[in-house]
Symmetry: C2
DNA sequence: TATCTTAGTGTCATTTTGACTTTTAGTTCT
DNA sequence: AGAACTAAAAGTCAAAATGACACTAAGATA
């Protein structure tokens, strides 16, 4: 008992933070990446925006802690959750002394764009466009940029686009996710071809009605062999 | 002061460990992946083999800590060093109580096969073939498997094969690295084509003499746009 | 009925990939 | 010296993947 308390005095503190992505329509109606930030209510960086997070509870798993502070800030459940990186530079909080050093284990998460509408916004919690962030507390701008890089990378060789969408979706919606995240247009025909060749989606036979053109088929994600 | 000491008492301890890969020739003379392990001299898992590592010093960067314990166990400098993952499950050390919970930030490193020959072996530090590991302490078998997966993955879309080799190398040597890590044979002609197309190597004009066949050209790694 | 819009299919040229052949330049064997 | 041997280096070719684009289908709307 004594030994662990003693060694802790000279050990850095551990925190868990989460970069939470969703897609929401902007003024033009096209989807854009957005993420929630919380306003800091104490020094350092008081009043500036930061990633949601907090100290790791001794009896809590890392992913559980990430999931918990996702729920606490947004009242949402993650559709996807993955560890991003452990940030532990000595100069993360300029001016503070070593005894207050914090190592942050950062996760990134996706939440559905259907659910993200129900997410809370308040004085201290707001959603920002991922490409229009203000200057954040600590090294959080760096962290978000790395998370963005990882999301874009992973989207191309993995099947996680559907996690932004409800259970049933059209190929056009899925393509829109890719276009919003990767920030470039994709050829609808070629997109269909690759998605079908990968077996990433399963046709349901049902069609989406109410569009002002030919009704598109609804698909669901192919769970088998996903990751 | 008091506050950080108090909060530390209920915080997990932080350690840094490193999976160190090199390539060494086996009995048949072909290269195989090897890594150094240290024998635990105290409970838990006393007498079992484990990854080199130790507690994170309060005034030390994460990568610096990894580099340091690499130097301490093998007396080598890493040619490549990258963070792997932060492992923090509650059940990493079965039977121990929460106050002794350790979160390990694990790095993986490559060292040159030329230098690895000079690496120390002792009663408590030995090199093992990566595919013939004994049952390791804690969750270290899992960790090594994940590091292996990451190494193989990264080798295919990144340029790190040359980090196993000295400054000048032949394409056959580079190919041998790929073959040893990926554990499958590659067509020499196609390998040359892709490596040259990527611009991964720069011909030096010099040739390696003393082979019992046509002397191969020596290349060096193309540093520009490496990662 | 004609028009509009997107769904869904089809075509084709270019590039990339994998399997394989041929030529080259050295050593070794006879 | 010449033949045999080995791996380097260059070249060939068909199959597969990719990107650009045209065409047809099926609904809503005017």
């Amino acid at each position: 008992m004594v030994s662990s308390a003693q060694s802790s005095v000279i050990a850095p503190n551990l925190a868990v933070s989460t970069v939470i992505f969703t897609l929401r329509p902007n003024a033009d109606g096209c989807l854009k990446l957005a993420l929630p930030l919380v306003k800091r209510i104490r020094a350092p960086f008081e009043g500036q925006w930061a990633l949601p997070g907090g100290p790791l509870n001794i009896s809590e798993d890392l992913a559980t802690a990430a999931s918990r502070n996702l729920l606490e800030t947004t009242h949402l459940e993650p559709r996807y959750l993955e560890q991003l990186y452990a940030f532990g530079s000595l100069d993360r909080s300029p001016g503070s002394n070593l005894a207050d050093r914090v190592v942050s284990i950062v996760y990134w998460a996706l939440v559905g764009n259907d659910e993200a509408g129900t997410a809370v916004e308040s004085e201290n919690v707001q959603w920002f466009w991922a490409d229009e962030l203000p200057a954040l507390a600590f090294d959080h701008n760096e962290i978000v940029n790395y998370a963005l890089w990882r999301l874009r990378n992973k989207l191309e060789y993995s099947r996680l686009a559907h996690r932004f969408l409800p259970e049933l979706f059209t190929l056009a919606q899925l393509r829109e996710v890719y276009e919003a995240v990767l920030n470039r247009e994709l050829d609808p025909g070629n997109f269909r071809r690759t998605v079908e060749a990968e077996g990433a989606v399963v046709p349901t036979g049902e069609r989406l009605a109410g569009t002002k053109h030919r009704p598109p088929q609804l698909y669901r994600a192919n769970q088998t062999g996903e990751n």
